[in-house]
Symmetry: none
Subunit: 127 residues, 10 copies
Amino acid sequence: MPDATILELFETPSDTPFVIEHIAAEFTSVCPITGHPDFGVVSLRYEPRAAKDGGKCIELKSLKLYYHSFRNKGSFFEAVTNTIREDLVQAIDPVWLQIETDWKGRGGIRSVIRADHGAVPGHFLGR
Amino acid sequence: MPDATILELFETPSDTPFVIEHIAAEFTSVCPITGHPDFGVVSLRYEPRAAKDGGKCIELKSLKLYYHSFRNKGSFFEAVTNTIREDLVQAIDPVWLQIETDWKGRGGIRSVIRADHGAVPGHFLGR
Amino acid sequence: MPDATILELFETPSDTPFVIEHIAAEFTSVCPITGHPDFGVVSLRYEPRAAKDGGKCIELKSLKLYYHSFRNKGSFFEAVTNTIREDLVQAIDPVWLQIETDWKGRGGIRSVIRADHGAVPGHFLGR
Amino acid sequence: MPDATILELFETPSDTPFVIEHIAAEFTSVCPITGHPDFGVVSLRYEPRAAKDGGKCIELKSLKLYYHSFRNKGSFFEAVTNTIREDLVQAIDPVWLQIETDWKGRGGIRSVIRADHGAVPGHFLGR
Amino acid sequence: MPDATILELFETPSDTPFVIEHIAAEFTSVCPITGHPDFGVVSLRYEPRAAKDGGKCIELKSLKLYYHSFRNKGSFFEAVTNTIREDLVQAIDPVWLQIETDWKGRGGIRSVIRADHGAVPGHFLGR
Amino acid sequence: MPDATILELFETPSDTPFVIEHIAAEFTSVCPITGHPDFGVVSLRYEPRAAKDGGKCIELKSLKLYYHSFRNKGSFFEAVTNTIREDLVQAIDPVWLQIETDWKGRGGIRSVIRADHGAVPGHFLGR
Amino acid sequence: MPDATILELFETPSDTPFVIEHIAAEFTSVCPITGHPDFGVVSLRYEPRAAKDGGKCIELKSLKLYYHSFRNKGSFFEAVTNTIREDLVQAIDPVWLQIETDWKGRGGIRSVIRADHGAVPGHFLGR
Amino acid sequence: MPDATILELFETPSDTPFVIEHIAAEFTSVCPITGHPDFGVVSLRYEPRAAKDGGKCIELKSLKLYYHSFRNKGSFFEAVTNTIREDLVQAIDPVWLQIETDWKGRGGIRSVIRADHGAVPGHFLGR
Amino acid sequence: MPDATILELFETPSDTPFVIEHIAAEFTSVCPITGHPDFGVVSLRYEPRAAKDGGKCIELKSLKLYYHSFRNKGSFFEAVTNTIREDLVQAIDPVWLQIETDWKGRGGIRSVIRADHGAVPGHFLGR
Amino acid sequence: MPDATILELFETPSDTPFVIEHIAAEFTSVCPITGHPDFGVVSLRYEPRAAKDGGKCIELKSLKLYYHSFRNKGSFFEAVTNTIREDLVQAIDPVWLQIETDWKGRGGIRSVIRADHGAVPGHFLGR
């Protein structure tokens, strides 16, 4: 089951703002209605706080294991997206964070969910 | 026949704004003049109200069945598009909603219809 | 010969603004100088008036037949484009209408003509 | 329901062999288990008998209506493919005929079925 | 109406075999059932007889006018293809000739017809 | 755990040979060494025996559930591929069957495994 | 030699502004230094004056012949571009006119020249 | 006017067979009927005789000038192709030579002509 | 340093022949002359012996570690390719094995090396 | 000036046949007529003799320097290609060797030259 305690952090290496993007192409969870598996791509984008303000980054292997913990969880696309946003915001308290989930078609319908925390950094707009 | 009572809702999982997109590539209805089948792609994009304001999301399987209910309905492209917009706005009372229908060619003419409810959210502009 | 009386209308299904695009890829007319056939793509985009204001939409099959009526008409590209704009504006009195004709090469020269009526709706800009 | 009596024929226009291909991109039928709609592309390729031998071609509009008659029929992909092969072979008694159905994904599985009658004509091989 | 007398010939310029291909992308005729226009691409490939054997080539502008003569002719795809094959074989008595017609979709069905006269020249195979 | 008893069959609809292809793009199992999830595409191609010989086809939904039963199974790519080949050959006793699994990269290495039963039907070669 | 007297005009068919684009892909002139041929694409875009103000359009065949008149003219790319701009502005006195010439590489250098007359119409910006 | 005396040769640099291909993308001549310019791509492929047998290669700049000499020549596509074949065969007496001319569309018809001298060398087949 | 003792094997899961392909896109070694790193893609394809004949497969993680052991090894492309072929043939004694290394450009030169052991299996030809 | 003494060799690492390909994308020499630079891609493919037969491979950096030695050499494309073939055959006495040079356009003509030594190895055909 989704378990945010798996997430490990490390101190951000800089006081100057920068942006990080992790694209996980092999995310899977389970439909809470039918029990069938769902497959999607989870994109995480965030700007950590400055080092002098105690800014943190997410350790990549722990992020992978955190995503794996959804494998047998029954959850709507919308809830998966918001749970990841909230767990990660709580863990790293970033300047900005964005989660976009892109789900393979089910019943002929493809879905994309996007949830933001904070404003997109100016130098990252329009990407 | 189109039947909005099929639509099932669930409470939105968050108070923070986010955007949902469902792209249904296998929509079919019937031409009201000739009785011949029409085929199109129906894209739904919306931002639900916040959870604290009673915001609702559309359950995906019920959306699929709602779309299936147009299968033998004779209706103009324009009417299909507006009916979906109105049924969905009535069902979920969203902050913003957009329906775009893209119809395969008939008689050598391809058609695209777009109908909005509310203003596109700022952080979704330019997508 | 071009015959706008072929055009059939139906009442627009909504009071909320929306935009319609019909792309006809198989338009043909005749060069008024040489008598040789011309081939082009005719794109029509418009926003009908609201239903409460007596807004009308163009019935698709009648649009196809109207386009077919140019088949043996000798007419310059510029005249074809403006005739269609004027006939359609007269027929449906829209909020906005745009005709773009894209002609296959003749003598090594490809041509595109664009004629507008009214201003592009704000929520359609940048498409 | 599928109705081969809709099929209309006309006399083949030639004694010299030739090959005909009709690709129908908007085929739909219904899953016999779940009742959900299926969408696919049906490709028909055939060589009619010579005119002097009473060879027949399929009239295109009647082929379209025949395909439409599957719209609300519950049938496995395999049965749809074989029914079309048999109905068409019976109707036109061709030198060669091939049906290939290519179905959009359902439950994450895309399917292709191919059924032949007679050997591919030598001058059509490798296309 | 289709008129093979329009075709003009000139003496082939060589005794050594060579191959000619003319691809006409703007062919149009009329459906004999509905009266609606059909649009297609007509590809002609042939090897003329040697000059010493009285071999002839088709003059390109007359070929264009011959194709134009189908503009208001009601004719099945199959008949158009065979008529062109027969008219051209009669006119130039070639070593080899091939007609392929590729028709834009009508009622969601796209069609390709191919008719050969003689065997493909060895040095042209596999192109 | 992988469970071939889930597989449901139905009688093949024809005595004439034909070929079926099911491409499952959302297969997942677990690495038996690390416990990490593996993701792949499983392509099944087969020719059932004739109806008069008791030939069987695989019902698609049961195939999907059979594939789902590998979800939490720790198994090498090679074993997954051979297990599927053997379970399906046992279930339907086909004329020909082929399994191809295409696995997303793990540790920077992408893998493809292919296992056949019987010879590829002549009319399916070169596809 | 370039000859603007070849240009033929016809009265613009409308009082409402519209925009015309002619793209000539087969332009050739001669290098004034080496005498070698140059090859380029000449794009003409313009908005004619209103009909009530005596606005004129360029007849397409005469434009083709005007371009052909450069065939054996020795002239720099820059001079060709400006000559065409001046001849056309003089001939039709447009609201706006733009010439863009795009030349095939010579000595490994590709060249593009653009010359405007008047301001780009607002509804044509950004195309 | 086409002038094969422009062609300059140099001694082939080897006794071992090899193959040369020159692709001229900027060929232009004139239609003998209408006087309008034609544009095409001329591909020359050949294997020179061995040096010990007096084999010759075509100097590239003289080939370019030879092609330029067609600039104001009125000639059918077929004649241009055969003239080039014959002039070049006469000039270099090659083991094998092939001319392929690919002409831009005129009146909506695109043309390709191919003429061979001798058999394609075995080690060049399938390229 | 390259260390084949890292390679771990497991018993092949089948007596029926099948084929395995592992494509490692992140291989790196060191140029023995300059000490600069080289990057390449190493593709391994093989058919293990049957289980009853003691056939073995390579465990994927150990293959990755084996490839990693070349990281600081100074070795020519040709030697890397042959070392991998020999180590793997020795380890698994396969029916067939093929190594293809595709190296990113160094000094503007891109290299590909291919080494085989045994003949390609018939049912794998043409892939 | 081209200098084959720059070429360095090393002993081939294997007795089993294998194939090597080096693609040099940044080759430049000088036109012997005009003195202008030429740019091309030089592809070398070869199979060295077995180690037991004294087979040699070309060291890559020396190949690069050898190619650089053509930089200020005035030489026809054909001579460059044959010089490289002969120098390399002399240096390594291979089982098979192939040189293909692909030259950027000069005066609108692009050229490709190919020279072989020995027969293409069977297991390398069709690549």
